[in-house]
Symmetry: C2
Subunit: 339 residues, 2 copies
């Protein structure tokens, strides 16, 4: 089939071991520059491609990384995957992508099958806060968490600065004159949901605003759940003039709720989303939202994991936070003056 080291060796008239050294940048200095040149030429002529299985078998490193995503259909993740793929690929690594559907059982199963594939490390984007797998897995593999942090185990992670993002949203609303601001929070089991909810409470307090009865968490990251949730909030407290949603789906659900109650967004109630998924600029109304740098999160996570793979000694656990920005569109405006 494809050419092997032995073929090159025969062609040049040297031993396969020397060919191996010549072709490996890390060991090329051990072999005569002239032979290196000859080897490279022969390799190109035979269009030699190293067999990763043979190399992997010997070195027990597959140069693959398991990437575990809750749901690829959620537009938040493809961007991150892109970032991961690009920087991993540049370093000669290949991501193995899987979906968990947010199901812990499926996740265990998939992680097991990735382990069987002998991945060199993991990038996990699964959202659950309490996860028994994490502790075990982190003992056997280098791991980087993305779009979340772990509160039980201390693990490297790359995520958005949720505190900052939520603050941006609230400062924006406050600047517009809003004082009665509610929060449609993410599921309690979700890491990001939890963080953003806490950030909401803190930022509101910093602005001297009250949050009592103004926070309600959905049971799942769905438009329908947010619809119910926002409806409940507004009914309980009709004075509400603005809603900060824990992500864009929840913002969409909140807008649906507002429409469902025969009120208008942003005229009656302003809504701010989070993530800036694709197409959020063309929904009705175009959504003001906090944009998280999805590509950067992915590439940063890949970089972090790669660095862990080379310098195994370092014990420092890096937790990277990327700064989000506020995207102003049309779902927010001044609160209506009371007549």
């Amino acid at each position: 089939m494809s050419a092997t080291l032995k073929d090159i060796a025969k062609k040049v008239g040297i031993h396969p071991a020397t060919v191996s050294r010549a072709l490996n940048p890390r060991t090329a200095h051990l072999v005569n520059p002239a032979t290196v040149a000859k080897v490279k030429k022969a390799a190109a002529a035979l269009d030699y491609l190293p067999n990763p299985m043979a190399a992997g078998l010997r070195t027990s490193r597959s140069h693959t990384i398991g990437v575990v995503i809750p749901d690829l259909n959620n537009p938040l993740f493809p961007g991150m995957v892109r970032g991961i793929q690009d920087t991993l690929g540049r370093a000669g690594y290949t991501p193995l992508l899987v979906n968990t559907d947010n199901d812990p059982d499926i996740e265990s199963h998939l992680v097991a099958s990735l382990s069987a594939r002998r991945v060199d490390g993991f990038i996990l984007a699964t959202a659950r806060r309490d996860h028994p797998l994490l502790a075990q897995l982190s003992e056997k593999f280098p791991i980087v968490l993305i779009n979340r942090v772990s509160d039980s185990v201390q693990l490297p992670s790359v995520a958005a600065d949720e505190q900052h993002g939520i603050r941006l949203a609230i400062e924006h609303l406050y600047g517009l004159g809003h004082r009665e601001i509610a929060h449609v929070a993410g599921p309690a089991w979700s890491s990001t949901g939890h963080e953003r909810s806490q950030a909401f409470t803190r930022s509101m307090k910093d602005h001297g605003l009250v949050t009592s009865k103004r926070i309600s968490a959905v049971s799942s990251w769905s438009i329908e759940a947010a619809n119910e949730c926002a409806t409940r909030l507004i009914k309980a407290d009709p004075a509400i003039t603005a809603i900060v949603a824990a992500n864009d789906q929840l913002a969409l659900g909140s807008i649906a709720a507002i429409k469902g109650m025969k009120r208008r967004c942003p005229r009656d109630i302003s809504v701010v989303g989070y993530n800036d998924m694709p197409f959020m600029d063309i929904v009705d109304p175009p959504l003001t939202t906090v944009r998280v740098p999805q590509n950067d999160i992915g590439s940063e996570a890949a970089r972090l994991l790669l660095s862990m793979l080379v310098e195994e000694g370092s014990t420092s656990v890096k937790q990277v936070r990327l700064t989000p920005e506020l995207i102003l569109r049309s779902s927010t405006t001044h609160p209506r003056v009371e007549k």
Copy 2:
């Protein structure tokens, strides 16, 4: 690290080769059922995981499939990827996913790196109609095309029945009373764009409608390009009452064009999309569109490729067409009666 066949062999007191045969369903009949049972128990006790590199090195089959996608950020593809992953995973295969950004150079590079990884086959979703790579690649690997067909080389493919989908759209508009129907077509180099454009012409003719000057192709699958394109069409022929767009992005661009010309959709001009991407139900106006079964396309392609991997003998080239359906929403209505 992990247990090997030798470990199991030692534990049971037999030769590693026997263990290998016992664990392989295809050869298990060669070994005494009693020993098979003992081997399985021991394997479970040591939680043995076969080393795919060792197996792959010996058998030169990696049990991986290269999956080449133009752009994962396009919501059309994650669904297909899901379908692929699910059925490949069930068969013990792992997809290796890459993005090409519709760039032929990047594509060649990525395909090369997947070949280096010794994938067992390819699933290609790249859209270009004329592709030099295809012919060469198909000689060395089993290949299945998705969401497109090849017109130069005869290759297995899984795609939507574009003819049927476009017909659904036109029948719908015709039934509403539209007669002046235009088509915002996909790029000429695109397989789907080309097919849908041809289907448009044919279906229009079948309804006795004229298409002259009513078809204009965009240069890229973007909202902006469609905006320009639709603007041009409408200006050239103000009588137009409906637009069939070659996909949802183009439909969104067409709607933007209508709004930009201070006209309204669907009151002044109806628009039908294609694909039914996520969130097309909440854009303004909610988009009437032709839904293609994304998951099914993916899983069908995976099934097809897997079947090609086992029965290498068969020379028949299967070309599967899946039936799309029309999703009625609010971007279409009766044409306005002339005053």
